[in-house]
C-alpha cells in the first residue's frame, strides 16, 4: 500500500503544480468527439470543476460505459425556484432523470454523457449556478443551516456563508474559458503560464476541505464532521461572534491505522468581523502543513491530531492577526431537519419534505420529481437543500399552502411525511452503480433494509423510536456513517463493518461493533440488540446511548 500511495500522491501534487490553472486537456478532449472519455490526468482536474468521470458498474462486465457526475455548489443549500427548475430539466434531458441531494446541500447529476457535458455546464451557469470547487483539493461547498426557522439570525448567517464561499473560491480562469466560452487556455501566454492562485498557491490544498456554519441548539449541518466549523454565538437573537471548530472529517481507509474519523476540536471564539481572516488562516494552515506525501493522510484533521490544538491556535492567531478568546458555551440537542409545515418569523411558512437518500425521482405512485416541478412552476418558492438530504420549500404565503399540498398529493407525495422516524433520520450514499469507490451496495439496498428494520421495531413495540441509521458503500464517509447510532460501512461485496453508538445531537463518533458482517446477517444481529435494548434500556434512553452504556461498555471491559 505504501508504495502505491506515494506514487499516487506525487502524481496529484505534480499535476496541480504543473498546471495551477487546472485546465489539463479538458477543452481538447471535449472538442474531440471521437474521444469517449477523459484521460487519467484530466480525471483529477475535472474534480476541481465539479465533475467526476465514472462508469456504469452494472455494465462493467461488458466494458466501461463512461459517464459523468456533476456536483453543484450551493452555499447554504439555497436555490431559487427558477434555478430548481433548470436543474430539474437538466436531470431529465441529460442525466438519469433523478436529482440527488447530497449530504453537503448540493445537487448531483448522475449519468451525463460526455457529449452533453458542456451543455449541462453552460445551462447551470446560465441560471447562475456554479460547480467550480464542488470537488477537488480546495474549499468545497460552504454549508449553513437551511431552515429559515425562527429568527433573523438564520438569514444573516446564510449571507455570511455565501459571502465566504465566494471569497474562498479558486480564481483560475480555466472554468469559464472551458465551459462557458468553449476555449482552450493558451498556456504559453504569460498570464496563464505564471498563474498562481492568491489563496491556494500553485499546489492548492493537500486534500479536500469542508466548511460549515451552525446555529445551536440544532446541529442540522453536522458541524463536528467539518474541517472548518463556525458555531454561531448569539445574544438576544443577535450575532456576536463564532466559536471556531477545526479538524473534523470522517473518511478513512480500511486496514490503514494512519486514517480515522475524527471530530473537530473547539479552538476559540472570535467576533464576526474576523470571519474571513480566520477562515483563510485555517485554510492556509492546511495548505502549508497538510501531509502532501500521502493522500490518505492529507486532511486537516491529521494536522490537528499530530500537532495539537495549542499549536494550531497559535498558527491561526498569527495568520489572522488576532487573539482568539476562550470558546463560549454552546450545546446541541439534535441533528436532522424540521419537516412538515413550520411558520417563519415573517409570517410565511416553509415545508420540509423528507427525500429518501436525497433522491428526487418519480416512481410508481410516488412522483416526487414531477410533483415538486409542478409546485415550483406554479408558485416559485425558494428551495433549500439540507445536510440530511431533505428539501425545504420556503417563504410560502399561507394562502398557497393548501394548493401546494393538493398538487403534491396528486403525485402521491404527502406534506405530512408519512415515514417512520427512523427512516427519516437515516441516510445512504449513492455507491453502486455510479460511484467508482463503492465496495458494497448502499443506496440501492438501504430502503429495503429499513423496511425490515421497521418490521422488527414494530414487532418489539419500538416503532416510535428514532434510530439514526447510516450506510455507505466504502469507508470514505459520504453519508457520515461514523455519526450514526447504527452504521454499515461497505468492505466488499455484501460485507459491511457494523458500527454502533452515535447520538441524537451528532456530537459523538460511533465504534466498530462487528467486522465483515454479511448483508443478510444485519437484521438478525439488530434484532438481538433491539430485544436487549427493549429489556435493559433506561427510561427514554435512545438506542445509540444504550449501545454506548451497555453493549460497547462490555466490549471495552473485555478489552481492558
Amino acid at each position: 500500500m505504501g508504495f502505491d500511495t506515494i506514487i499516487l500522491t506525487q502524481r496529484n501534487e505534480a499535476l496541480k503544480q504543473g498546471n495551477p490553472l487546472l485546465s489539463g486537456t479538458i477543452a481538447q478532449t471535449l472538442a474531440d468527439e471521437s474521444a469517449e472519455c477523459f484521460s487519467h490526468d484530466d480525471y483529477e482536474f475535472l474534480k476541481f470543476h465539479g465533475i467526476y468521470q465514472q462508469d456504469d458498474r452494472d455494465k462493467r462486465k461488458e466494458g466501461k460505459h463512461y459517464m459523468l457526475m456533476v456536483r453543484t455548489k450551493f452555499p447554504g443549500g439555497v436555490l431559487s425556484g427558477d434555478q430548481y427548475l433548470a436543474c430539474d430539466s437538466l436531470a431529465t434531458e441529460y442525466a438519469n432523470n433523478t436529482l440527488r441531494i447530497t449530504t453537503r446541500q448540493d445537487f448531483q447529476f448522475h449519468g451525463i454523457l460526455k457529449s452533453n457535458i458542456r451543455q449541462t455546464m453552460r445551462r447551470l451557469n446560465d441560471a447562475l449556478m456554479s460547480t467550480i470547487a464542488a470537488c477537488g483539493d480546495v474549499e468545497r461547498n460552504v454549508m449553513a443551516p437551511p431552515t429559515p426557522a425562527t429568527s433573523p439570525l438564520v438569514d444573516e448567517v446564510l449571507a455570511q456563508a455565501r459571502k465566504l464561499s465566494n471569497t474562498l473560491a479558486p480564481r483560475t480562469p480555466a472554468y469559464h474559458a472551458i465551459w462557458l466560452n468553449g476555449q482552450e487556455l493558451n498556456l504559453n501566454s504569460q498570464t496563464n503560464g505564471d498563474f498562481v492562485d492568491p489563496l491556494y498557491g500553485k499546489s492548492y490544498l493537500p486534500r479536500k476541505f469542508k466548511t460549515a456554519f451552525v446555529i445551536p441548539p440544532l446541529n442540522d449541518i453536522d458541524i463536528y464532521t467539518n474541517d472548518l466549523g463556525f458555531v454561531v454565538i448569539a445574544e438576544n437573537g443577535r450575532l456576536i461572534g463564532y466559536n471556531l471548530l477545526a479538524g473534523g472529517g470522517l473518511g478513512m481507509s480500511h486496514g490503514n491505522t494512519l486514517t480515522f474519523p475524527r471530530l473537530a476540536d473547539v479552538i476559540g471564539f472570535f467576533t464576526p468581523e474576523h470571519l474571513e481572516a480566520v477562515a483563510k488562516a485555517v485554510i492556509t494552515v492546511h495548505r502549508d502543513f497538510g501531509d502532501r506525501t500521502n493522500r490518505k493522510h492529507a486532511r486537516l484533521k491529521y494536522v490537528l491530531a499530530d500537532r495539537g490544538v495549542d499549536w494550531f491556535r497559535d498558527q491561526v492567531e498569527q495568520r489572522a492577526g488576532i487573539r482568539l478568546e476562550p470558546a463560549r458555551p454552546f450545546q446541541f440537542t439534535k441533528q436532522g431537519d424540521l419537516l412538515g409545515w413550520h411558520k417563519q418569523t415573517n409570517g410565511n411558512y416553509f415545508l420540509g419534505l423528507f427525500v429518501e437518500n436525497g433522491r428526487i425521482r418519480d416512481i410508481n405512485g410516488y412522483k416526487l420529481k414531477t410533483g415538486l416541478r409542478r409546485v415550483i412552476e406554479k408558485f416559485r418558492p425558494e428551495v433549500r437543500l439540507t445536510a440530511s438530504q431533505n428539501l425545504l420549500l420556503v417563504h410560502v404565503p399561507p394562502d398557497q399552502q393548501g394548493e401546494i399540498e393538493r398538487i403534491l398529493s396528486e403525485h402521491g407525495v404527502s406534506a405530512r411525511n408519512p415515514f417512520s422516524r427512523t427512516r427519516m433520520a437515516s441516510m445512504a450514499c449513492p455507491a453502486l452503480p455510479t460511484c467508482g469507490l463503492a465496495l458494497a451496495e448502499s443506496e440501492r439496498t438501504m430502503p429495503d433494509l429499513l423496511t425490515r428494520l421497521e418490521d422488527v421495531l414494530k414487532e418489539l413495540g419500538l416503532e416510535d423510536e428514532e434510530i439514526i441509521v447510516r450506510m455507505t458503500g466504502c469507508p470514505n464517509g459520504c453519508a457520515r456513517p461514523y455519526m450514526g447510532e447504527i452504521a454499515l460501512v461497505g468492505k466488499g461485496p455484501n460485507r459491511y463493518q457494523f458500527y454502533l453508538g452515535g447520538n441524537e445531537a451528532s456530537t459523538r463518533l460511533n465504534k466498530v461493533y462487528k467486522d465483515m458482517v454479511k448483508g443478510e446477517e444485519i437484521i438478525p444481529e439488530l434484532r438481538r440488540l433491539l430485544e436487549r435494548f427493549k429489556r435493559e434500556r433506561l427510561d427514554g434512553e435512545r438506542f445509540g446511548d444504550f449501545c454506548v452504556r451497555v453493549v460497547l461498555k462490555e466490549t471495552t471491559d473485555a478489552q481492558a
Binding site: 462486465k61 486496514g255 461485496p493 462487528k514 465483515m516 473485555a558 478489552q559
Partner: protein, 254 residues
C-alpha cells in the same frame, strides 16, 4: 499493558500462560504442540492449509498421532489446476475430507461487480473478497486456528510466535489462538519429511514455483529469491491478508 491475571479471554489463555507456552513450545516437536492443541481445544481447533509443504507435514503428523483435527483450505476459484487436483490426492492419501471454503461470490460475479481481473488492479480487495471474508466466517466457529507458517518464509513472518493470541471481534472481546507448530522448520526439513513419507505434493514445486497461491498472482521463483518472492509480483504486497487482518491481542514485541 495487559494484566496477567485477566480472565476475559474466551480461549482461556492469558498473557502469562501464552509466554510460558511459547518458551516451552519453541524447542518442542510439532506433534507435541499439535497434541496440546487437541487436548485443549479438540473440535474447536482446525488446520488451515493451502497445501504448501508445512501444511502437508502437519496433516501427516496429525494422522500419525491420532489427532483428528478438521482440515480446511481456501478455494478462491483462481487456484492452479494442479492445486485443485492435489486436494483429492491428499484426501485419498490421508483418508479424510478437506473442507473447501469458498468466497461469497464467484469470479464471474466479482467481474460483474468490480470489473474483470480485479487482481490486476486491486489485489488487496481481491484477496479480501476471496480469502479473508471466507476465512473469517470459518474462524468464527473456532478457538484455535492452526497454520503452517514458518519463520524462514519471509521477513513478514520472521518474528512469529508458536502460539499467538488475536482479537477476533473487538465488540465482544472474543479472541482466537493462532498456532504455528511449524514456525521453526526450515524449507529443507519440510522437504526431507515429505520425501521420507512419500506425501503427495504440488507438482508445481518441481517446476520452479516456491510459494503457490492463486494462478494469476503467482510466478516462478529463481534460485536465491525469497520463497514468497513469486507472489503478487509488481505490487508492494507479500501477504494476502489472512495473516494480517486480525489485531494481535498480546504482542510480546511491544
Amino acid at each position: 499493558m495487559f494484566a496477567d491475571t485477566s480472565t476475559d479471554f474466551n480461549s482461556g489463555l492469558n498473557p502469562a500462560e501464552l509466554r510460558s507456552l511459547n518458551a516451552q513450545f519453541d524447542s518442542q516437536p510439532a506433534e507435541r504442540i499439535l497434541a496440546w492443541a487437541w487436548e485443549r481445544f479438540a473440535g474447536k481447533a482446525a488446520i488451515g492449509t493451502s497445501f504448501q509443504g508445512a501444511g502437508l507435514v502437519m496433516m501427516h503428523l496429525a494422522k500419525l498421532n491420532d489427532l483428528p483435527f478438521s482440515i480446511f483450505t481456501l478455494d478462491t476459484g483462481l487456484l492452479f489446476p494442479e492445486t485443485v487436483a492435489l486436494k483429492s490426492r491428499l484426501e485419498d492419501f490421508f483418508g479424510f475430507k478437506i473442507q473447501s471454503l469458498e468466497p461469497d461470490i464467484t469470479v464471474d460475479e466479482q467481474a460483474h461487480i468490480n470489473g474483470p481481473e480485479l487482481w490486476k488492479r486491486n489485489p488487496d480487495l481481491c484477496c479480501m473478497i476471496r480469502k479473508v471474508f471466507p476465512l473469517r466466517d470459518k474462524l468464527s466457529e473456532l478457538d484455535c486456528w492452526i497454520t503452517g507458517l514458518r519463520r524462514q518464509q519471509s521477513h513478514t513472518r520472521a518474528d512469529i510466535g508458536v502460539v499467538e493470541l488475536y482479537t477476533f471481534d473487538e465488540a465482544s472481546g472474543r479472541d482466537i489462538v493462532k498456532l504455528n507448530p511449524m514456525a521453526n522448520w526450515t524449507r529443507d526439513q519440510v522437504w526431507d519429511y515429505l520425501r521420507a513419507h512419500k506425501i503427495p505434493y504440488n507438482p508445481l514445486h518441481d517446476r520452479g514455483y516456491g510459494s503457490i497461491g492463486c494462478l494469476p498472482c503467482t510466478r516462478m521463483t529463481t534460485n536465491g529469491e525469497n520463497e514468497r518472492a513469486g507472489r503478487w509480483t509488481g505490487f508492494n504486497k507479500v501477504e494476502c491478508g489472512i495473516h494480517t487482518f486480525l489485531p494481535k491481542k498480546v504482542d510480546f514485541q511491544i
